[in-house]
């Protein structure tokens, strides 16, 4: 996986805020994955334009008390990539 790249969603999955669940979810054929808050915040910035570095910078700005987030973001993106939710360009 290229960590300098730009993540995009695998078209098999649709990401959205789900009011009834009070969380972000990934929807796919006949299924739904509920995301925890930090996973949701990261994926909410995946749009095929922002690079991983830009996503990290935006999150650090949004959550200034959280300190440096690079390692967490990389770890989660690794998992998301393994799960086939996202691709790296």
């Amino acid at each position: 996986m290229n960590l300098n790249g730009t993540p995009t969603f695998n078209p098999l999955f649709r990401f959205q805020w789900e009011k009834a669940q009070d969380c972000y979810v990934l929807l796919y054929p006949e299924g739904m994955i509920k995301l925890n808050p930090s996973a949701g915040e990261i994926l909410a910035l995946v749009d095929g334009n922002r690079s991983l570095a830009e996503i990290t910078a935006e999150l650090e700005q949004k959550f200034p008390d959280a300190g440096s987030l690079g390692a967490d973001v990389r770890e989660f993106i690794g998992v998301a990539h393994e799960q086939n939710w996202i691709r790296m360009q």
Partner: protein, 388 residues
């Protein structure tokens, strides 16, 4: 309808007496019973030809809106063949605007490039194409149609070409299960994202045809082994295609946790607007509400029909005192009713059921192929099952 009496007279439980229920995450819209095919394992009711008039577009839009408010996220358009509904594009567009993930469950007959584009543009998320077999002859024999297979192949290719996620569904049984390797090869060639290899469940038409459909244990074990070999091969090749193998519960000793519990996550609306907790529940001797008379919220939380088998107060022995009842909820109510005559009995698939001998007898029967012809799912045969 008389609404002057107590809460009971209008088919709803009095407030406060509802049983615990989850959100109806899954809404299945059976738009029509019309279908150009005649699969002998079709899950539509045997007497479909005698059911009421189809809901109109506005009724469906109201149902979609109310379902979304109750928390439904997955929406299936099925039937019959949903493509026979002229308002399908409109319903897809509404579904997308409401935030559903919409699934079109189709035989592929009646589909063409133009419609696929229109659905895409309206926001359809995914298409499931059902096949009857991996080769033309068996497929067409099972579908009761001469040209079905070629059309399905063409449409599956087009679905992928237009960038949709694609699930291919094969209902497996004794006539096609021995070719499971060819079925999987075909799916690889067509580029499916998911493949459902689902052994028939014996309700409705499939129960009528059980002797002709049910595979032997040896057939089943071979098919499962081959599926596992393909899983390993796909993984080694880095092919993300997923194989989902559904065994028939007739070869299990414990029943499935049917629908994740009665009225817990699943809500089906039939073509005439009857609301059901699962798509075969119409066969049960229970009155189910209709969306023309009630809001989906009242139906889901307060109707007698949806509360009927929630919780475990209704259970009889052996389920009542069984320590596995939280796990399988006593199995499938429809199967209990169809095989024992009482929907509150344990599902006879369970080896603790006093009726388990029926399952054993069916397994034995499956060791001797039946020469009797199929009862095809069509209007003429359906009329035989219509009451009055």
């Amino acid at each position: 309808m008389n609404r002057t009496g107590s809460g009971c007279s209008d088919g709803l439980l009095p407030a406060g007496q509802e049983k615990a229920a989850g959100q109806p995450l899954w809404l299945l819209a059976e738009l029509t019973y019309k279908c150009p095919l005649q699969c002998p394992y079709c899950s539509n009711p045997l007497d479909f030809a005698g059911q009421g008039e189809e809901l109109g577009t506005e009724d469906w839009i109201r149902v979609l809106q109310q379902g979304r408010e109750l928390g439904a996220a997955q929406l299936g358009f099925s039937g019959g063949e949903p493509l026979t509904r002229p308002d399908l594009v409109e319903l897809i567009r509404e579904a997308r605007a409401l935030g559903y993930y919409s699934n079109l469950i189709t035989s592929g007959l009646g589909l063409n490039e133009r419609k696929l584009e229109a659905f895409r543009e309206a926001g359809l998320d995914h298409i499931q194409v059902s096949f009857q077999a991996s080769d033309e002859e068996v497929n067409n024999m099972l579908a009761g149609s001469q040209k079905a297979f070629a059309q399905k192949l063409r449409m599956a290719r087009e679905v992928k070409a237009q960038g949709y996620p694609m699930v291919l569904n094969f209902v497996t049984h004794r006539h096609n299960i021995d070719r499971i390797d060819r079925i999987i090869e075909l799916c690889i060639e067509l580029g499916a994202d998911y493949v459902e290899l689902a052994t028939c469940q014996y309700y409705g038409w499939a129960l009528e045809n059980r002797a002709q459909l049910m595979p032997s244990r040896a057939q089943l074990e071979r098919a499962e082994r081959i599926t596992n070999e393909y899983r390993a091969k796909l993984a080694a090749e880095g092919n993300p295609m997923r194989l989902i193998f559904v065994t028939p519960d007739y070869y299990e000793e414990r029943p499935k946790a049917c629908m994740n519990g009665w009225g817990q996550i699943f809500l089906t609306i039939t073509p005439d607007g009857t609301a059901l907790p699962c798509h075969s529940a119409r066969q049960l001797p229970i009155e189910f509400p209709n969306v023309k008379q009630r809001s989906l919220g009242d139906i889901w939380y307060r109707s007698f029909g949806f509360n009927h088998f929630r919780g475990d107060d209704w259970m009889k022995e052996p389920c009542r005192s069984c320590d596995e009842k939280e796990k399988d909820f006593g199995g499938c109510r429809c199967q209990a009713y169809l095989l024992t005559g009482d929907a509150a009995n344990a599902d006879p698939v369970c080896s603790k059921s006093a009726h388990h001998d029926q399952i054993l007898a069916a397994r034995e029967e499956a060791e001797q192929p039946s020469a009797a012809p199929f009862t095809y799912r069509n209007e003429r045969n359906s009329r035989v099952f219509c009451r009055g």
